[in-house]
């Protein structure tokens, strides 16, 4: 097997993940992709979607990625994202409550609500639930 790539996930507040990976799957703006080590230099715009990273020690981590970019160069992958959560850190109760709240707001459609914001909140909570395999 090829030498594993180094993978770093960077958010504005911290470096969330820094390690090796044999493979990772994510979703770009135009569809899903998987990257193996020694990929050609590339920049990818990410969608709000789960990201799975397979480490060489045959464990895998799933992250909720809220948009961002992947940069690949010389077997070194940097993922820059405004926000990223590890699946085991997600509060499932809170996410499902947020989903309910957003759905309620969207179904009532009272004039004082911000539809765009509610849709955003719904998308975020759905992603969190998806990453934690609740739906």
């Amino acid at each position: 097997m090829a030498e594993p790539m180094t993978l770093t996930i960077i958010t504005p507040d911290a470096v969330v993940y820094n390690g090796f990976a044999n493979f990772f799957v994510g979703r770009a703006v135009d569809g899903e992709f998987g990257i193996l080590p020694n990929h050609a230099p590339m920049i990818i715009a990410l969608d709000m979607a789960p990201l799975r990273v397979d480490s060489p020690d045959s464990t895998s981590h799933t992250f909720a990625i809220f948009g961002g970019f992947v940069e690949i160069e010389h077997n070194q992958v940097s993922i820059v994202t405004p926000n990223c959560e590890l699946s085991s850190d997600i509060d499932i109760d809170r996410a499902s409550r947020a989903k309910q709240r957003a759905e309620e707001r969207l179904s009532k459609r009272t004039p004082d609500i911000d539809i765009e914001r509610a849709e955003h909140a719904l998308a975020r909570s759905l992603l969190r639930l998806k990453v934690t395999k609740q739906i």
Binding site: I10, T11, P12, D13, A14, V15, A28, V29, D30, F33, A40, P41, M42, I43, I44, A45, G67, G68, F69, E71, E73, S78, V80, P82, N83
Partner: protein
């Protein structure tokens, strides 16, 4: 001349004030360290975003020009004024205000839009009859990325609706805890980085244009976030310096009042003794 009792009272009150300023100094210095750490932690992210932006700029964009890079004739300007929620930070707030007023100059109210963060700039600008479009407060010494995202969202939507043709951020650059400089920086339209890195061909997914479109708002957000963090560190630094000098001044005042009090006490004792001695002599 103050009486001994008055002096005692003043010494006590100054001592109390000194205790307060000392506590505020400690709080500010502890928070400053945290704010500096936070500003430091955003650097990898900002650098990476900047690097990706340069990579895209040096690739073939098929003559695509993002609206965020397009320079339009400036009819209206949006100012984002980043200030403090609380005072007692020396000249911090007035420096920001001075810079903002200098930037706005003699523009008519329909030629600018103002977005403020922090209570101080909002109140000060309002008192001077400037019209304020949006104001945010409650996070001046501990901003989060989310705040930068919301504020940038408002500024971007003004820009995209052609309500403003440029966006200027007024913030305080943090050099060290003694020196902070209020600065104005144009953040929109963005300047194309010209230091091209032509070392490697990159592929883009889905294509350079849409990566660029997704990247530019992120770049702006991190620029604004950096401005917020710099201002937060500056505010705390200015407060720490102001409170240090207030504590020192209180110390000086206490010692000079103490000296005066002791002199007064001594002279009254001397007086008493001479009276007693005088009385005893008169009896002989």
């Amino acid at each position: 001349m103050a009486s001994a009792q008055d002096l005692r009272k003043r010494i006590k009150s100054v001592t109390n004030t000194q205790q307060i300023t000392k506590a505020m100094k400690m709080v500010a210095s502890a928070r400053l360290r945290r704010a500096q750490g936070k500003a430091e932690a955003t650097r990898p992210y900002a650098e990476k975003i900047g690097q990706i932006l340069r990579r895209i700029s040096s690739s073939d964009l098929h003559d695509y020009l993002s609206p965020l890079l397009e320079v339009r004739p400036v009819k209206r300007t949006c100012y984002i004024v980043i200030g403090a929620d609380k005072g007692l930070a020396g000249a911090f707030s007035s420096n920001v205000l001075k810079k903002a007023i200098e930037q706005i100059g003699d523009k008519r109210p329909d030629q600018y839009r103002i977005i403020t963060t922090g209570r101080k700039p909002k109140d000060a600008l309002k008192n001077r009859h400037y019209k304020i479009e949006y104001s945010y407060s409650g996070f001046s010494d501990k901003p989060a990325y989310e705040h930068a995202r919301i504020i940038m969202g408002e500024a971007l939507s003004l820009y995209e609706r052609h309500e403003v043709d440029e966006v200027i951020m007024i913030y305080t650059h943090f050099l060290n805890s003694m020196t902070q400089i209020a600065q104005a920086e144009r953040i929109l339209p963005l300047e194309q980085p010209d230091d091209e890195v032509k070392d490697e061909e990159y592929e883009f997914m889905p294509n350079p244009e849409s990566v660029l479109d997704a990247l530019l708002p992120k770049y702006l957000e991190i620029t604004l976030y950096n401005g917020l963090l710099q201002s937060a560190a500056s505010e705390l630094g200015a407060r720490m310096t102001a409170m240090t000098s207030a504590t020192d001044n209180a110390g000086e005042l206490i010692s000079s009042l103490g000296l005066e009090y002791n002199k007064l006490r001594q002279s009254s004792i001397t007086n008493e003794i001479s009276e007693i001695v005088g009385g005893a002599n008169a009896l002989q």
